[in-house]
Amino acid sequence: MPAGNDYTVDEIMAVCIARRLSDEATVAQGIATPLVAAGYLLAKLMHAPNLRFASAIGQGICQDWAPLGLARTEALWLDKALTTVGFITVAADLLPRLHPIEYLRPAQIDAQGNFNNLAIGEDYWHPRMRLPGSGGIPDVSVVYNDMHLYVPRHSRAVFVARVDVVSGLGHSPARRRGRGPVYLLSDLGQFDWVDGRLRLFACHPGVTVERVVAKTGCELLIASDLAETPPPTAEELRLLREEIDPLGLRKLETLGGAARKALLREILAQEGAL
């Protein structure tokens, strides 16, 4: 779905991720989050040459980069790593020490910013659908001060009044350390939290407040000075399309069903891995 005339929704999302990152930041890259990786690499090439990446694949820290790959993703996260330390050290030592900026993707989220990646359905023990699991979210979300979230397909199925299970901790009275998420990016706009309540502060170009509200199933505040996300520049689009992600992996996160499968096959064919 094009968000405007000459760029797509994955591209404005990658641009939003990139623009928030400062030079010398350390960012973390989870599993199957190519849209986030595209944003990180865009920041590195635009304004943050000293950005460093901690990655789940390879469990190391990179400062150099390579274009995004699907079947050949290890050519980036292994071959470009400064060091690789294994997952035990990452989970027990590296993440608690470095508190990298990481974009986490909820399957469900509520207005407080509590989120769920474990199972859908009111009864966890008899779910409607089991999800892959929570990775390190219950570990980092209870201590981080600067948690970022993203939702590539904004819908009432994701933004719910009450999450079925809390695996990611939001602005909850149960919190002892850190704070709830500070920023959420979706395909419709940008959000933050005011006094622990979800607030829309910018719509992407062409998106109305009414549409965001209609697609949000939880309480939503609207900023009095609601802004419009500045569109991608020609140079940002060139870097994304030609340098960072010529195969188009970033689009996988905003597509579903047959379109997504077709893109997977197209990418694999170009990588010689079909």
């Binding site: 079947a71 990775g135 992996l249 990588e271």
Partner: protein, 264 residues
């Protein structure tokens, strides 16, 4: 004369017994011991009631769940990354046919560190405030005797057999992995039986060894033994094969897929 630990894959697969905890090395779609899984499923008496231990579980683990070998999964992620859900796990876990021991990166890391330190638990700030403690009533909390803070006491994680796929190993059991280490080096200390499968077996490795011979129980030669998962830099993820697997499961053809898989 040095001990020769080289065995066939079929012999290595005989070491797994009903009800044991089996750990598979690598992560999700990378350097998974697929050839070992094939050897396990070729056994006329396939093991049942296994607890499957992974940092992240993918295709190789989904085959074992679909084949009915697994009673419990113990991982922080079970899926096929960008390719989608792990079909047999998703169905079995949704229906309650396999028990999910809910783990996270920290509970696995601290549980393994506890086992390696020969203590019953490791304390951590993870989980507190989330629903995870409710989903794992067996995991207790402890009061830090110095600060008074309540912490999770992640229990030591036991493991009977670990299988790790290597780029190259020697006959004594020295093995070289790649940089996507996952928890393989720790698994080699954790498990009672450590099986190394390797793309190539040589007489003697003398440097850059990730798993040293005294930790290894058996070595088996398994060329392309991680396929269709990757074995970087030798081969990438065979994405087309993963899509064929997903399509086969979606159309109820898991058993036929496994028949073909076992012929290879």
């Amino acid at each position: 004369m040095a001990v020769d630990r080289l065995v066939s894959l079929a012999e290595a697969a005989q070491t797994v017994h009903d009800g044991q905890t089996l750990a598979l090395g690598g992560m999700t779609l990378y350097r998974r011991p697929v050839a070992f899984v094939r050897a396990l499923l070729r056994r006329p008496d396939r093991p049942v009631g296994l607890t499957l231990l992974n940092f992240t579980a993918g295709y190789e683990s989904d085959l074992l769940v679909g084949a009915g070998c697994i009673a419990r999964t113990r991982t922080c992620y079970f899926g096929l990354e960008a390719f989608g859900l792990a079909p047999m796990f998703t169905e079995a876990a949704t229906r309650g046919q396999v028990a999910v021991i809910e783990e996270t990166e920290a509970s696995l890391a601290m549980g393994i560190r506890a086992a390696l330190s020969a203590v019953g638990f490791m304390p951590s700030r993870a989980w507190i405030g989330t629903d995870l403690p409710r989903l794992r009533p067996d995991v207790k909390t402890i009061i830090d005797p110095y600060s008074g803070e309540e912490l999770m006491a992640f229990p030591a994680i036991p493991c009977d057999v670990a299988v790790i796929h290597a780029l190259v190993a020697d006959r004594q059991g020295n093995a070289r992995l790649n940089r996507n280490l996952a928890i393989d080096c720790e698994l080699a200390y954790l498990a009672g039986t450590v099986i190394v499968t390797a793309e190539e077996v040589v007489d003697r490795l003398t440097e850059d060894v990730d798993i040293a011979a005294p930790l290894t129980t058996m070595v088996a030669h398994a060329p392309r033994g991680a396929w269709p998962t990757s074995c970087h830099p030798l081969y990438p993820v065979a994405g087309g094969e993963l899509l064929r697997y997903i399509d086969a499961c979606a159309s109820g053809e898991f058993d036929r897929y496994v028949q073909d898989f076992l012929k290879e």
